[in-house]
């Protein structure tokens, strides 16, 4: 089933873990890279709030300390997303996904708004509970096929992964912010600091796109 996405263009070895680029993962990788670059380069916007019932409006400013921290988290999130895009190993992929979850919490946790913090907490709890389906899925893959390599599983040299493992992996990634488990995420986006908040959205979409590919090929 490897022809779903084209043959790998380029592989990079880290011992028993491969990093590989197919046309599909490479384009996702480039997009993550592009948005990380935007995060590095751009300053946050100043959100304009309207005071209802009056003509007054004011722009919120983000403090330098908060800005630095959130930018750091967004860059970490971008790197984690890039890693998840190109990782050729199921367990490594789930670890990158967990890292994406933590950094997403970090991006919004620093915002001084009770509403946003609450949403971040709920999201964080779901992300942490999502580690069971993620790691469980990866463990079932290795137990039932004897390998974690996506390329091996896709190449047909190993027996196919059981449906249970695939379903667990997908559910775990969906917990990181896909429909219908994204209500908290939508609220997190009300936080100021567009370039950073966008990384939350981008990362969860990208890891979802990747898990679909993984589940289809293994």
């Amino acid at each position: 089933m490897i022809e779903l996405e084209g043959a790998p263009l380029f592989t990079l070895e880290f011992g028993d873990i491969l990093v590989y680029f197919t046309p599909y993962t490479a384009s996702l990788f480039l997009l993550a890279l592009l948005f990380t670059a935007i995060v590095v380069l751009s300053r946050p916007e100043r959100q304009v709030e309207i005071l209802f019932g009056t003509d007054a409006c004011y722009a919120k400013d983000t403090s330098i300390e908060e800005l630095r921290f959130r930018r750091f988290m967004s860059i970490a999130c971008g790197l984690a997303t890039m890693g998840a895009m190109v990782s050729g190993d199921v367990f490594d992929y789930t670890l990158f996904t967990a890292l994406v979850g933590v950094t997403n919490v970090g991006i919004v946790a620093a915002v001084k708004s009770r509403h946003v913090q609450n949403a971040a907490f709920q999201y964080g709890i779901v992300a942490l509970a999502g580690t069971l389906p993620l790691f469980g899925g990866a463990a079932i893959v290795v137990a039932s096929t004897g390998t974690l390599s996506i390329l091996r599983l896709a190449g047909g040299t190993a027996p196919g992964a059981p449906l249970l493992a695939k379903a667990l992996l997908t559910l775990g990634v969906m917990g990181e912010g896909m429909a219908p488990f994204y209500a908290a995420k939508a609220e997190m986006f009300r936080a100021p600091g567009a370039p950073y908040v966008i990384m939350c959205s981008l990362s969860s979409l990208l890891i979802f796109l990747r898990v679909i590919e993984v589940v289809l090929v293994i």
Binding site: L18, A98, L99, A109, G146, S149
Partner: protein, 147 residues
């Protein structure tokens, strides 16, 4: 209408965790029904036991920088992958020769038991893992310190 009732539930993020937990519970239940999942016998890094060795239960033999006969995902990429006990530092070697219980006590010694997997074959995992720790503690201490 049923649709607006469902949408009211999913729009409240307080319901997020119950929703996800319910989905997980259903999936795990289905998983139990899907059993048995067969266990693949030809696993990566199988365990072997050698009760006489001071490194038990981690005695796997082997020498550094020598390819050993173990199952790997990409044998061609790991010309040096040895047994897991391949990397013993002088201190560990000394301890192993003087006591019988190195394996059960000094399990994570540098150059100790699992380092072959943790640092070499699956090193990228450990990089990501320590990054997770780093990031989460950064969040914790940032929130803690900010007044």
């Amino acid at each position: 209408m049923i649709i607006s009732r469902i949408s009211r539930i999913i729009s409240n993020y307080g319901n997020l965790m119950p929703l996800f937990a319910f989905a997980c519970a259903v999936l795990c239940l289905l998983g139990i029904l899907m059993l048995p999942v067969s266990y693949h016998e030809d696993q990566l890094y199988r365990k072997t036991q050698n009760p006489d060795s001071p490194l038990d239960p981690y005695e796997r033999g082997g020498r550094p920088l020598e390819r050993a006969n173990i199952t790997l995902q990409y044998p061609e990429n790991s010309p040096y992958a040895g047994y897991v006990t391949a990397y013993l530092t002088p201190l560990s070697l000394y301890l192993a020769s003087s006591t019988l219980y190195l394996g059960t006590t000094i399990v994570a010694h540098p150059g100790g038991i699992l380092d072959e997997i943790l640092y070499n074959t699956r090193g990228l995992d450990t990089v990501v893992e320590s990054s997770i720790l780093f990031v989460a503690f950064a969040i914790g201490s940032f929130i803690f310190r900010r007044r």
